[in-house]
């Protein structure tokens, strides 16, 4: 992340030849969480840690814990609602932002 930001902040005259992006994962600087109208809220009490939401998230914005518990990374979640739909125990609810 720090590597990413240092590259993006450089003067264009120092950009490497060939128009390449010389460091990985600089898209982390682009917080797509602002796209969201509905936000997924996980009911941890209901969660069975099946990882369905984790595997199907297109961002990926579902964080997988060591114990396979899950959390939403709201910095990037676009609020598509796939996680809520694939949850077999309906532990995720989409609620309006704001």
């Amino acid at each position: 992340m720090s590597e990413a930001s240092s590259f993006v902040l450089k003067s264009w005259r120092e950009m490497p030849p060939g128009g390449i992006i010389p460091v990985p994962k600089t898209s982390l600087l682009n917080k797509t969480g602002t796209w969201r109208a509905l936000k997924p809220v996980i009911n941890q009490a209901k969660c069975i840690r099946c990882l369905m939401c984790w595997v199907h998230c297109p961002e990926p914005a579902i964080l997988r814990g060591e114990d396979d518990s899950v959390a939403v990374d709201y910095d990037y979640c676009k609020g598509c609602g796939i996680c809520a739909n694939v949850c077999p125990v309906h532990a995720i609810e989409m609620v309006p932002e704001g």
């Binding site: 264009w12 030849p17 060939g18 128009g19 992006i21």
Partner: protein, 394 residues
């Protein structure tokens, strides 16, 4: 002359140079008159004389696409094509240059269709002139060999990092055998050590090559690429000098003959330069003085050098082996005109078209051009139209 004297045609000489350059990857598709280059390299690889990957691709578009991929991976890459093949590569030419992939490509210059023709025109080289590739023109088989070796040095120089074309006239050089001096392998190794790539593809150091580049950064990237071309001339001269020390063979971006004290000259590319000099000698016997100026370096265009040479003439014929349809002049003519426009003293320029589709260019044509230059000089004004030499009468 240093080196071992051998007899080879232009295509084989280029392939031999690529072999001595120890290229890692050859990605190429056959097309006359370049085919012998590809065949010879395939032979070298399959006989164990060259340790390289030969990718027998299914089209020129793929030939260059694979070449760019291989070059980004850090390999020394060579390919060759002609005419329609180069046209098919066109999209990727820009990308190879923009991604700064120092591929070396030989072009056996050939006319573009229609009608289909396998012989020499410079349509193909000219069509690549804006793409960002460096371009050299060989005048004979020796130059085709020498320039191929030097092309790798220039292309891979970290101040340059640009793909480079070596042009050799289709059939007139590709299929013609001449004597040439070749270096020992060890000498080439010293002149052209293993490529040291900048930012090659490396899984331990992941980078993104060829991203989307929108309104916010594209222009800056083009500016950065643009600035490189200002430095290429200096690198080319360094490489020419070093090569001269090694071989005794002198190269310069603009080659001149008989220019001292002459008021008429012709500017020309490729194998016809020799024919023009031959004719100029004949003219000199009759007391007529014609300077011959040929360009070894075509891109980047050697503006300053050419200006210095041409400013002193009254009339200059610029010879194009191609037609730029609907343009204010043909391709080399437009280059030369632009280069001279801001000069304080500039000659009257006459655009001459010659040799299309392999139409032979002979000393008689040079004499006709000389006569035309005399007339222009007398009238003091440039003709409205280009002069076509070698066109059928009637």
């Amino acid at each position: 002359m240093k080196g071992k004297l051998v007899g080879m045609n232009g295509d084989r000489a280029v392939a031999y140079a690529a072999k001595q350059a120890k290229v890692d990857v050859i990605s190429a598709y056959p097309i006359t008159p370049q085919t012998i280059i590809v065949e010879t390299l395939a032979e070298y690889v399959n006989n164990g004389e060259l340790d390289a990957a030969f990718i027998p691709v299914e089209s020129e578009h793929t030939a260059l696409s694979a070449a760019v991929g291989a070059s980004l991976a850090g390999a020394r890459v060579f390919t060759a094509t002609s005419s329609q093949g180069l046209a098919l590569m066109y999209e990727i030419l820009w990308i190879a240059a923009g991604l700064r992939a120092p591929i070396v490509m030989a072009i056996g210059n050939r006319a573009l269709s229609p009608n289909i023709n396998i012989h020499c025109s410079h349509d193909d080289a000219y069509a690549a002139r804006d793409t960002g590739w460096l371009q050299f023109f060989a005048e004979n088989v020796q130059e085709a060999y020498d320039l191929t070796l030097m092309a790798f040095r220039v292309a891979e120089d970290e101040r340059v990092l640009l793909p480079t074309i070596v042009n050799l006239d289709g059939f007139i050089l590709t299929h013609a055998l001449e004597g040439l001096y070749v270096l020992e392998d060890a000498e080439v190794d010293a002149f052209l050590p293993k490529r040291k790539p900048i930012n090659p593809i490396d899984p331990k150091n992941p980078k993104t090559y060829g991203p989307l580049d929108f309104t916010d950064w594209y222009m800056e990237h083009k500016r950065l690429q643009f600035e490189v071309y200002q430095k290429v001339g200096g690198v080319v001269r360094e490489v020419f000098d070093e090569y001269e020390k090694l071989t005794g063979r002198h190269y310069q971006p603009v080659k001149t003959f008989n220019v001292e004290g002459a008021d008429k000259a012709i500017v020309i590319l490729g194998s016809s330069a020799g024919t023009a000099r031959f004719a100029a000698r004949k003219l000199a016997e009759k007391g007529m003085k014609l300077g011959v100026v040929s360009l070894t370096q075509y891109r980047p265009f050697p503006v300053a050098e050419l200006r210095k040479v041409l400013e002193s003439f009254d009339v200059v014929a610029v010879l194009d082996r191609s037609v730029s349809f609907g343009s204010p002049g043909n391709q080399l003519f437009m280059d030369v005109s632009t280069a001279l426009y801001s000069s304080k003293k500039r000659p009257i320029l006459v655009n001459v078209v010659y040799g299309l589709g392999g139409r032979d260019f002979t000393p008689l044509h040079v004499e006709r051009i000389y006569a035309a230059l005399e007339e222009v000089q007398r009238k003091g004004e440039a003709p409205e139209e280009s002069l076509w030499v070698g066109l059928r009468e009637g």
